[in-house]
Symmetry: C2
Subunit: 301 residues, 2 copies
């Protein structure tokens, strides 16, 4: 029988990956309120926003304001996503100390998401990581579409491992692999993450999973069995990259946390408080979120 | 790294567990057509209907007609559910050769589902199994709510193992455990199924999973790792017991089959043909089913 870890660290992605493709703009004050409520609910890593072009991702156009507004007196890592040097400069100016700097494993996705080829993006990525390190920023390096791309199909494991090697050689502090499309499967998770963990040793390795094809928690379980203990989730299962066809839904914070609690694995997260955020957001967005537990929890509480 | 099985046997539950709580009655001819299309799609075990009281489950009131109507010339196990002696008699008269005879692990659920206490139901269950065996019927014994009950909460593992022992001693041919409420979790799956497989030895052991709390495929994965290789699924993720609060959704045949195919595990099932049934049923029921892959498959085919 596999042994599962005693605790799992969750990075909440709802305010960034969750909201970024939503057309209805959530007021800045509400985002800040949600972030502070996430802290109250026990989250210790929160990806707050993305310093990206406001024309392409209007929901993130208040990145500076959100970043400035949250309560930084608690022991919480507030992170943000940057995709290019311009975004990095904005993030540094905004006082960010932890940033997610990522590159897509898919050339086509890279072109659609950043308007750069994979090789151009890799050059930019390296420059960004060096610049961020110079500014004393903790860098979470990331590989998007690590388990498949809607445009290119399967992504070769060796290619992802090559990119991971580049991250490590550059000196990123943490490495995230993203199944941006939900195309990963438990076998691929086991194979990939076993290889990744052998390369990264003590470096935190984060897995970012989407539930597009219904495999989110199965993939998480498989990765957990290899030793991965950091996962991204989003309240209510909100989310999806605006440039990835069908990339709906991060794994839900509530569903994930609930499953882990049933397995006696600690997260420190108060699921009811998260579910209340999801429910309120459903009202603001005028739609039901794809997660399951926030409904069940609130009906029974 | 765990080794997964080379193949998994799926029993399609859509026409029984899937349809039973749907208010809109599907015409008998359509059910027969769906059953025959399931055979064409590669299913070799199909739970067709339930011989239960038509007043309580109107959707199953055509059990005899459906049973008589399907094409039995292929090498397919057509099964049905029976809950009491009256149903068993009807099933025998209808010519059934394979029946699912089950008992709930929860006293409260038993009373609501069968109007009998657990002990009364156990007596009836034993009489039914003996009667079915006398009639040369292959008996799939089943334990409902084996991983939790919405009314009673957790169900003790020892209690479920006791019931399993009774099944084995009675001479059932197969043993099914049902997570009727979706309250199971991967750790509980591993612990329970390791114990069950040690008791059952060569007897087929079937796991019936619901995705109510989003853990369906994670639970399947965990059980597969202990050696379980028979699973119930329902097209489109249809389903839920009408007497279990919140028991929505079997794990979807398409989602399950797709995950397994990605893991190089054979099922022999043509996922597109299943997705077409789900899509047609969505039209008939006027609602979207909770599975994910039938949408994705049909959009991309």
């Amino acid at each position: 029988m596999s042994t599962f870890p005693h605790s799992i660290i969750i990075e909440e992605q709802g305010l960034r990956d969750g909201l970024q493709s939503e057309k209805i703009l959530i007021p800045t004050e509400k985002k800040i309120e949600f972030a502070n409520r996430l802290v109250e609910a026990g989250l210790r890593r929160i990806q707050l926003t993305a310093f990206v072009h406001p024309k392409f991702v209007p929901q993130m156009s208040d990145a500076e304001e959100v970043f400035a507004g949250v309560d930084k007196t608690k022991n919480v890592i507030f992170s943000a996503l940057v995709l290019n040097m311009k975004g990095l400069e904005r993030a540094i100016k905004a006082g960010a100390t932890h940033l997610s700097i990522s590159i897509s494993a898919s050339d086509t996705h890279s072109r659609k998401n950043t308007n750069m080829s994979l090789l151009e993006a890799l050059k930019e990525f390296k420059d960004m990581v060096r610049e961020a390190k110079k500014a004393q920023i903790t860098v979470r390096g990331g590989i998007q579409c690590a388990f498949g791309c809607r445009y290119e199909g399967k992504i070769a494991k060796g290619h992802v491992l090559d990119l991971a090697r580049q991250h490590i050689d550059l000196g990123v502090d943490e490495l995230a692999l993203a199944d941006s499309t939900g195309m990963g499967n438990p076998l691929a998770m086991k194979e990939m993450m076993t290889n990744i963990l052998a390369m990264t040793k003590d470096m935190p390795v984060i897995l970012h999973l989407h539930d597009t094809e219904g495999k989110g928690l199965a993939n998480m379980l498989a990765a957990m069995e290899t030793g991965v203990s950091y996962f991204d989730t989003a309240f209510g299962g909100l989310g999806g990259c605006p440039f990835i066809k069908g990339a709906t839904g991060n794994i839900s914070t509530e569903d994930t946390t609930y499953m882990l609690s049933q397995m006696n694995i600690q997260t420190g997260i108060d699921i009811v408080k998260i579910a209340q955020i999801s429910r309120e957001l459903e009202g603001l967005l005028g739609k039901q979120l794809s997660g399951k537990m926030h409904h069940i929890i609130l009906e029974n509480s």
